[in-house]
Symmetry: C2
Subunit: 314 residues, 2 copies
């Protein structure tokens, strides 16, 4: 499992930061969160393959989060994609995708299924064998949703106990792990609960999109047991007024939400273009907050940064 930051800038691109886009590689799949202009080209410099993206999650319909969609969709069409693709986003995402498909001549011959999400209530929007994804209403100048990716971990097998009970090493161990009872040689039935330990905690990642700080978002992440928060921090804390005016967050805001959520990792992204040439204030604040907070590791995202997570799924 790997998070690949494809773009970490704010409204306009800079020399160092492209528009917002984050790829999440998990178990052979790629989940894409936001898709700013140029995302398809950013991918070329990483191991994110556009053809392997089946699910795209859009936080809101500002250009810096969506204008990579036309090119991405046209390019995978040009390269012969036939598998359907799912796009999740706030209300009006459907109409936006329809308009995107009207631009220019292209050869998109795959189905695009659009899911419009609530900006009033959290939703569980995806539930697979290995993970679930939630959306959460955020607070920006236009309808916005954040997302939470939560890995599902299977219960662990207590191998020693299973062997003590007479289970032979072989397919029966997997059946027990998968939750099925089995019959051993002496005719005795062994039930999963006899040999399973509670599952290890999986990875759970919250992504804020653009927003003012929302304490209830932090509480929601806590209820899901999130350990990583990717939060926008467009400004350093001395620019709180700019953040309020533009409905964004500061570094301090993001740290506050991270503490409420109880995550151990906070990654700051959506960094204003004003810092492109002089990042000192921003870095100094993060350094000082890192020194103050023993239980929270704060990282400033950079384009092409890969976030290596301690997980068996690489």
């Amino acid at each position: 499992m790997k998070i690949v930051f494809l773009g970490t800038g704010a409204a306009v691109p800079t020399k160092n930061r492209n528009h917002s886009s984050i790829g999440l590689k998990f178990d052979g799949e790629i989940l894409l969160f936001d898709c700013g202009e140029g995302a398809q080209r950013q991918m070329i410099y990483t191991d994110i393959s556009p053809m392997k993206i089946n699910n795209i999650f859009i936080t809101h319909l500002h250009g810096d989060h969506i204008l990579g969609l036309p090119g991405l969709l046209q390019s995978i069409g040009f390269n012969g994609r036939t598998e359907p693709i799912n796009i999740y986003g706030p209300p009006e995402t459907k109409e936006t995708i329809e308009n995107i498909l009207k631009i220019g001549y292209h050869s998109i011959n795959f189905n695009i299924k659009v899911y419009e999400l609530s900006t009033k209530n959290p939703m569980k929007i995806k539930d697979t064998e290995k993970y679930e994804i939630y959306s959460y209403p955020m607070n920006h100048s236009v309808p916005t949703v954040g997302y939470i990716f939560r890995e599902k971990k299977k219960p662990q097998l207590n191998l020693k106990k299973a062997i003590e009970l007479g289970v032979e090493v072989g397919p029966n161990l997997k059946r027990l792990k998968d939750g099925y009872p089995i019959k051993i040689k002496n005719g005795k039935i062994i039930y999963p609960e006899d040999v399973l330990l509670p599952p290890k905690k999986g990875i759970c990642i919250g992504y804020s999109g653009d927003t003012t700080p929302l304490e209830d978002f932090g509480e929601f992440l806590k209820s899901l047991g999130c350990n990583i928060l990717i939060h926008e921090a467009t400004f350093d804390s001395s620019k709180k007024d700019n953040a309020l005016e533009t409905m964004h967050s500061t570094i301090g805001d993001a740290v506050n939400i991270a503490k409420i959520a109880g995550v151990t990792e906070l990654i700051l992204t959506h960094i204003s273009a004003r810092y492109d040439d002089k990042m000192d204030d921003y870095i100094n604040e993060v350094n000082s907050l890192n020194a103050e907070n023993n239980n929270l590791n704060i990282t400033i995202a950079e384009d092409f940064m890969k976030y290596p997570l301690k997980s068996k799924n690489k």
Copy 2:
């Protein structure tokens, strides 16, 4: 005057080449030819300022030539542009721009005037004091026009003759140069034709867009006195079949058109992604054609290449 290559790739972007876009700086103005995805970010690395673009010329409505428009227009809107912008393109450009403006929330508060050009006949589409621009119907899989930029040079003043005739050094010299007769001290009238030499030849640049080779395009460039041709050469000449199939040109095709046009400079662009890692065949053919042709200088365009032209307008 300077040509800035913002993107020199073909259908899909590569590590080295972004989608098609060319900026032409002339006398304080910037004319933009095609605007592939990411053009606004490419500009950051050059001295092309998006805010100074008043005229955009689109060759055809394939994504790799237009998908930078939504972001460019939204960003200059975000940065407070109020001056109108002109966009020229083939039929359906108007509808395309309308659909582009429907994508996402943005703050475009300037007027966009769209001019749809003939794909049957050449047109003079712009005529200013200092230059004129023509469109020319090309031959691609979708309606396509090429463009010709032609500098207007004023007649030169024969200063020696003017002074011999009794014109005093001062404002009267400029009046004569501007085409007005003047009266000198002895009451005699001096007419412009008495003291003006024919104008020097200005810069004239043809740009093909995507096309099969068109000999009549070459002849049109010749009739205008063009000296520079920017021609697509998606493939080297060994891939003529690919070029025919996709309605593109090879290096050899472009050289042929350049010879018909009688230009001295040929710049090849829109280079297939297949050459990104192995450019040898392409370069070898260009080297060999350069060796064969004494009167033609062939250059392979690269992203961010600036083409310095010998002109007083820098």
